[in-house]
Amino acid sequence: MFTNAGTSSFTTFLSRVAPEMLPGRRPLPPGMAADLAPHATTIVAIAAAEGVVLAGDRRATMGNLIAQRDIEKVHPADAYSLVGIAGTAGIGIELMRLFQVELEHYEKIEGAMLSLDGKANRLASMIRGNLGAAMQGLAVVPLFAGFDLAAADPARAGRIFSFDVTGGPYEETGYDAIGSGSLFAKSALKKRYRVGLTVEDATRLAVEALYDAADDDTATGGPDLTRRIYPVVMTATAEGTYRLTDAETATIAEGVVAGRMENPGG
């Protein structure tokens, strides 16, 4: 089964040899299942001059309960791109792992990376495969952002793609947010985003936007100073992906909280 000339796509290979490992291929009993599993919430993405910033809060909710305080929803998809997940946590994490393997697999088989648009299209088709489960309440919607190595204009190399449960991708200009707090995060970004931000300013802006989301959305967690749990912030630039260390995010988050002590509206 491994030696067929076959395909460069790992999901296509899986659909042939181990279809039960694809999230969309499992039969679901009828009925709504939305309250069955924890939900991951808000993710924001901001395009900066040198690349792109993706940040997510740490809360997962189950109905009115907080299911987890320190869930990680923002991950590197490969060396130059990032993916954040909102929606049903278990399926989201499974899809994200599969997407990571998909990109790495293609790169190893073909000896070259997929283009950024190719990666986004691949992710869209994987989301589309989950449509049946999404219609029963187990929806997963990712936010994909990356540094486009083929971009003609280096200032536009940081690109953001959003999706819906039926697939996509939809390229976004400047910034975007997904998840339950996205409405408030996007409103904050609308007023504060400027073209040509540095990555450093964009990371601060991302944490500010997450703070605004947490301010008005119960499912989004703000910076937890007592437990030292801060948002996950990642960047993708020409040097690759980078996850800000806990110390770096702590500094930014404490700065944001201190600012809100003076002016709660930001």
Binding site: F2, G6, M21, P76, R97, E107, K108, E239
Partner: protein
């Protein structure tokens, strides 16, 4: 009615072995050896696009000589198996030994069941925490596996090359020394009247599994970095091949995160990730 001539199983196996050996001996050779910083692959290869040396998984590399379509088929099979196991279990559960066993089964089955054996010789290498922990497996056309002691040569006149390697190779060598030993060994065969040849940098395919790296450790060494190593400058390579952007030249302290291996990235002594 046409009469089939009887051929004994021994005769059939001998013929197949001879066919495979001749096919392998026609090709250019490859050398794999461990050095202080990891595992080094050096292959003589006129093509810069059709690789003899490639990445299978985080700490596992693959080198082959012989017929390209046949070993490329095995390489793809290896990548698929490694990725499937890594997704089903964990990235740490993908091992060189399991891959070597799978290749051995495949090659053995092809050798006995099909009319033509694969004309290939393969090395599966896994980089360990120290040079003593490196694993090099040699797989031949009939499915036999050998665990090699830190160095090996494959292809035409492999024995002569192995002889040179044996006398010059030490597991505590630096990358520069290791590349020079490998190239020197490769160039001792195939020259006019038994004299050593000179192999140009553009005829060499060089890659390493870097012991210090977390996540995906495979990296190609090409261009100016390779020339510098061949010229004996001990400066570490700074530029990677542009077509393998999976290994960005990250600044020190920045984790070159490979997808899905975050669990491997907080080892003691590694920068905070």
């Amino acid at each position: 009615m046409a009469m089939q001539f009887y051929a004994s199983p021994e005769q059939i196996m001998r013929d197949r072995s001879e066919l495979a050996r001749k096919g392998i001996a026609r090709g250019r050779s490859a050398v794999v050896l461990s050095y202080s910083g990891g595992v080094l692959f050096v292959a003589e290869n006129l093509s810069s696009a059709l690789h003899k040396v490639s990445e299978i998984y985080d700490r596992i590399g693959f080198a082959a000589v012989g017929r390209y379509n046949e070993f490329e088929n095995l390489r793809r099979a290896g990548v698929r198996m490694a990725d499937l196991n890594g997704l089903s279990y964990d990235r740490r559960d993908v091992t060189g030994r399991a891959l070597a066993n799978a290749f051995a089964q495949t090659l053995g089955a092809i050798f006995t069941e099909q009319s033509k054996p694969f004309e290939v010789e393969i090395c599966v290498a896994e980089v360990g925490a120290t040079a003593a922990d490196d694993e090099l497996y040699r797989l031949t056309y009939d499915g036999s596996v050998n665990d090699e002691p830190g160095r090996m040569a494959m292809g035409g006149q492999a024995e002569a090359i192995t002889g040179v390697l044996k006398s010059n190779h030490r597991p505590d060598m630096s990358l520069g020394e290791a590349v020079q030993v490998a190239v020197q060994a490769l160039s001792t065969v195939g020259g006019e009247g038994g004299a050593a040849r000179t192999i140009a940098a553009n005829q060499l395919e060089v890659a390493v599994l870097d012991r210090q790296r977390v996540g995906r450790t495979f990296r190609r060494i090409t261009g100016a970095a390779l020339t510098a190593l061949l010229d004996g400058e001990s400066a570490p390579p700074t530029s990677d091949r542009p077509d393998t952007p999976s290994v960005p030249t990250g600044e020190a302290g920045k984790p070159t995160s490979s997808a899905g291996s975050a669990d491997l990235e907080d080892r003691p002594g590694q920068p905070d990730s």
